[in-house]
């Protein structure tokens, strides 16, 4: 429990007016070098990795390599995109390995699903808010395995019982005699020790790192300009390309006049694809100038007249008929018919862009016998596979180097930008870095789906809910991204936050209708399903409280006896927010409670609405119970981040289409 991790974002007072918010944010918008003894998690402890070994190195598994010089290199199976994984994952390993975080160096993992798949996803991807849940046990075991083998090596060297030795601060110590050996001195011998069949993990009371705020390892490079993101790579001879993609999804290039573009100084080549045109140049300045000089006529294709209103209307219509049953408890229809009070509502939420600060980019060098890719991605193995498929190459002919990510939010789980870059690089001699303009990044994003919801509830004479019926329609990201996980018309993401509610509801019926918007790509977006469902469920809970003429917090608390962790965060948030204390006119408080991604979280927002109707968020209080907080400061940072991301989306975010074209194009304010 980390009840004390409530974040009081009081400083929103000064920045939270709608106009200020709008000014600030998008509105609409190897394995070891030199080898080593490598064992994998998927094939636990069965043999040596195929990489060549350095005789004096110790690499007990795919995550740890210790050189004879004492250098400890940890390979990161999850990518760093701001969420602090590059500190929290090392904390797990270092805790059991008994080293200080200052002693370790980090490497990005290469693509290898067998070694580096997220055990909760089954693929090598960083997303779905589960890296730490997935890493929690295996990476501590990785550290403990290495520690056990180092201790065994020292015990053998000293001819003593391993039980009389202990590991601390990168050394093995023999307490009775005071002898000690550094891990580097033991590395070669440790590599010859038998791999333990099982290892004992520390009890939480023994934790030195886990649960203690740790300085993030990735930050020094992020304040002095030396951090290397995908967009920063510069392989020798690299050319820079930017591109125009069909302004209507599904459109094609009808004709192209590149006369003026090729005359631009520094422009080297124009690449025409079926549905895009790229300008390859010495630098992005020339590429953009060349792009502006292109005369492209587009065949807009079948979606040329599409508007967001059309999409919304279709969703509204389909929710009149039944969908796939996501959850059924009792007989909601009957309970609703017999309820003393019946309440109905509809909701709709818009398409949203990711608008990562680092625009989409990918650098590719296609050679005759293979391909090399530099990119910041959340799904490294998928990058490799998609490039191999595009080029008709076996996987091992595609080398992928991962980099820091300048904002993921789900956008970089998709590889459309990689495929696009490979298609361009196929036609270019030498390496080419394809960088999207911000307009292309916004207008060819893959969007958080829009949804339409119909929801109704019945209350008894005391105002207590006796029936809950919810039907919603929208795109399923999972159905496209991981088809096997879309079953019987349902997937876990689309429905998360709409089912398994924390509230005591004696009857409940939830249906989902998958509807894909014509031509418009949708994708994961910082929580995806819950970003929609929690908004709907919690908005509707307020309607129930209002119908029952009860306080929204008290009304919820009365329904939480069977979910004590939910009740605790709600009570704590309400208390810290001063719920119930008087506010001056035009200021109110709103409350929300959720249990998604294995975390209980309650928020109270204090909001002012001006005479003119502009909304100013004055203060946000958030109480979080995410279980063990490995790096508490990172948890706090992530909650602060999510609150602002949510406010931005709620007050200002939307992507709209007119004439098949996305209307937003940049961080306009």
């Amino acid at each position: 429990m980390i009840r004390d991790r409530n974040v009081q974002a009081r400083d929103l007072d000064q920045t939270g007016s709608a106009s200020n918010l709008s000014r600030r944010r998008l509105l609409q918008a190897g394995a070891a070098a030199g080898g080593g003894l490598m064992l994998s998690l998927s094939l636990p402890f069965v043999g040596r990795h195929s990489e060549a070994l350095a005789a004096d190195e110790f690499a007990p598994n795919a995550f740890i390599r210790i050189g004879s010089d004492g250098r400890i290199v940890l390979t990161m199976p999850y990518v760093e995109m701001g969420q602090g994984t590059y500190t929290s994952v090392p904390m797990l390993i270092a805790e059991e390995l008994e080293v200080d975080l200052k002693q370790v160096q980090l490497e990005h993992a290469p693509p290898n699903e067998k070694l580096y798949a997220n055990p909760l996803l089954g693929v090598q991807a960083t997303g779905n808010s589960n890296a730490m849940r997935g890493a929690w046990k295996p990476l501590r075991e990785a550290g403990a395995t290495a520690r056990t083998m180092l201790v065994a090596a020292a015990a053998e060297r000293w001819s003593v019982d391993a039980k009389s030795c202990r590991a601390q601060n990168g050394e093995v110590v023999h307490a009775p005699t005071g002898r000690r050996l550094g891990y580097g001195e033991l590395a070669a011998a440790a590599a010859t020790m038998p791999v333990p069949a099982s290892v004992a993990l520390k009890a939480p009371s023994e934790f030195k790192l886990i649960g203690t705020p740790a300085k993030r390892l990735d930050l020094p490079a992020k304040v002095n300009g030396t951090a290397v993101y995908g967009i920063d790579v510069r392989p020798p001879g690299v050319k820079i390309a930017t591109l125009a993609q069909s302004p209507v999804f599904g459109g094609r290039v009808k004709s192209l006049d590149d006369t003026a573009a090729t005359a631009v100084k520094g422009v080297r080549q124009i690449v025409r694809l079926d549905d895009a045109v790229a300008v390859v140049a010495d630098h992005m300045g020339s590429a953009k100038k060349g792009l502006a000089a292109l005369r492209i006529e587009w065949d807009d294709g079948p979606h040329a007249k599409l508007t967001t209103a059309d999409v919304a209307r279709e969703l509204e219509q389909v929710t009149l008929a039944s969908g796939a049953v996501a959850q059924n408890i009792g007989d909601a229809e009957k309970a609703l018919a017999g309820a003393a009070t019946k309440i109905e509502a509809t909701y709709q939420v818009p398409f949203l862009a990711h608008a990562t600060m680092e625009p989409m980019n990918c650098t590719v060098h296609v050679r005759q016998d293979g391909c090399e890719i530099w990119v910041g991605t959340q799904a490294l193995a998928r990058v490799q596979a998609s490039a191999a498929k595009t080029l008709g190459l076996p996987l091992e002919k595609v080398a992928v180097h991962n980099h820091l990510i300048g904002g993921g939010f789900g956008r970089r789980l998709d590889v459309d930008g990689v495929v696009r870059a490979v298609e361009i690089a196929q036609r270019v001699d030498g390496p080419v870095k394809v960088v999207w303009t911000r307009a292309d990044d916004i207008q060819h994003d893959m969007y958080r789906p829009n949804w339409f919801d119909r929801i109704s509830a019945g209350l008894d004479t005391k105002g207590i809910p006796v029936a809950w019926s919810h039907r919603f329609a929208g795109s399923s990201v999972v159905a496209r991204w991981a088809p096997p996980f879309f079953k019987n018309g349902l997937d876990a993401d689309s429905t998360e936050g709409a089912v398994d509610l924390v509230y005591a509801l004696p009857s409940m019926h939830v249906e989902y209708v998958r509807v894909e918007p014509p031509g418009i790509p949708t994708a994961f977006w910082r929580s995806v399903g819950p970003s929609h469902n929690v908004f709907v469920v919690e908005s509707f809970m307020d309607e129930l409280a209002a119908a029952a003429k009860q306080d929204p917090v008290a009304y919820r608390l009365a329904l939480l006896d069977k979910t004590p962790r939910a009740k605790a965060v709600l009570a704590l948030a309400a208390e810290k927010a001063g719920w119930g204390q008087p506010l001056r006119e035009r200021i109110g408080r709103g409350v929300s409670l959720q249990h998604v991604f294995a975390t209980y979280l309650a928020v109270v927002a204090e909001v002012e609405v001006s005479e003119e109707g502009s909304v100013r968020v004055r203060r946000v209080v958030c109480a979080v119970d995410c279980g063990t907080a490995i790096n508490p400061d990172t948890v706090q940072a992530q909650i602060q981040s999510a609150v602002i991301f949510g406010i931005t989306a709620a007050l200002h975010g939307q992507v709209t289409l007119k004439g098949g074209r996305v209307e937003q194009s940049n961080f306009h304010y």
């Binding site: 020094p220 010495d282 990562t356 600060m357 300048g406 602060q640």
Partner: protein
Amino acid sequence: MTFQIAVNGINRSVDVDGDTPLLWVLRDVLGMTGTKFGCGAALCGACTVHIDGVATRSCITPIDSIGDSQVTTIEAIGATSAGARIQRAWLDREVPQCGYCQSGQIMSAAALLANNPHPTDTDIDDAMSGNICRCGTYLRIREAIKKAAQSTGQGG
């Protein structure tokens, strides 16, 4: 055409069109990738550098407008008192998340502090409101600027 520009105290010669934005000269021609591309239209602040000490969006600053002015980038801002204090405060307060916008944030904050040693909240908002952070590090940015303002050049 060839232009001579002074970047971080070093004279550099580049052969580009005069309307080429400084951002691309820095990143693609000179290989100084600490300055970031975010929007290309002075809407996000990721590309902020100092030109004669003034925070400037390099993505809309043509190379032929620079003349004899001194360009300072994130790679060298730590050599200034204000820049060093800002960088230290950024680390102390653990400001960055993805970090991509932080070069620009730091350049804007360093310019603010160099000209206004004790900025108020309003001063901070005015100086920083053009720098977008999608990770939402705004609260910590403000705390870090205040911390830097209270620190001395030596350590703080």
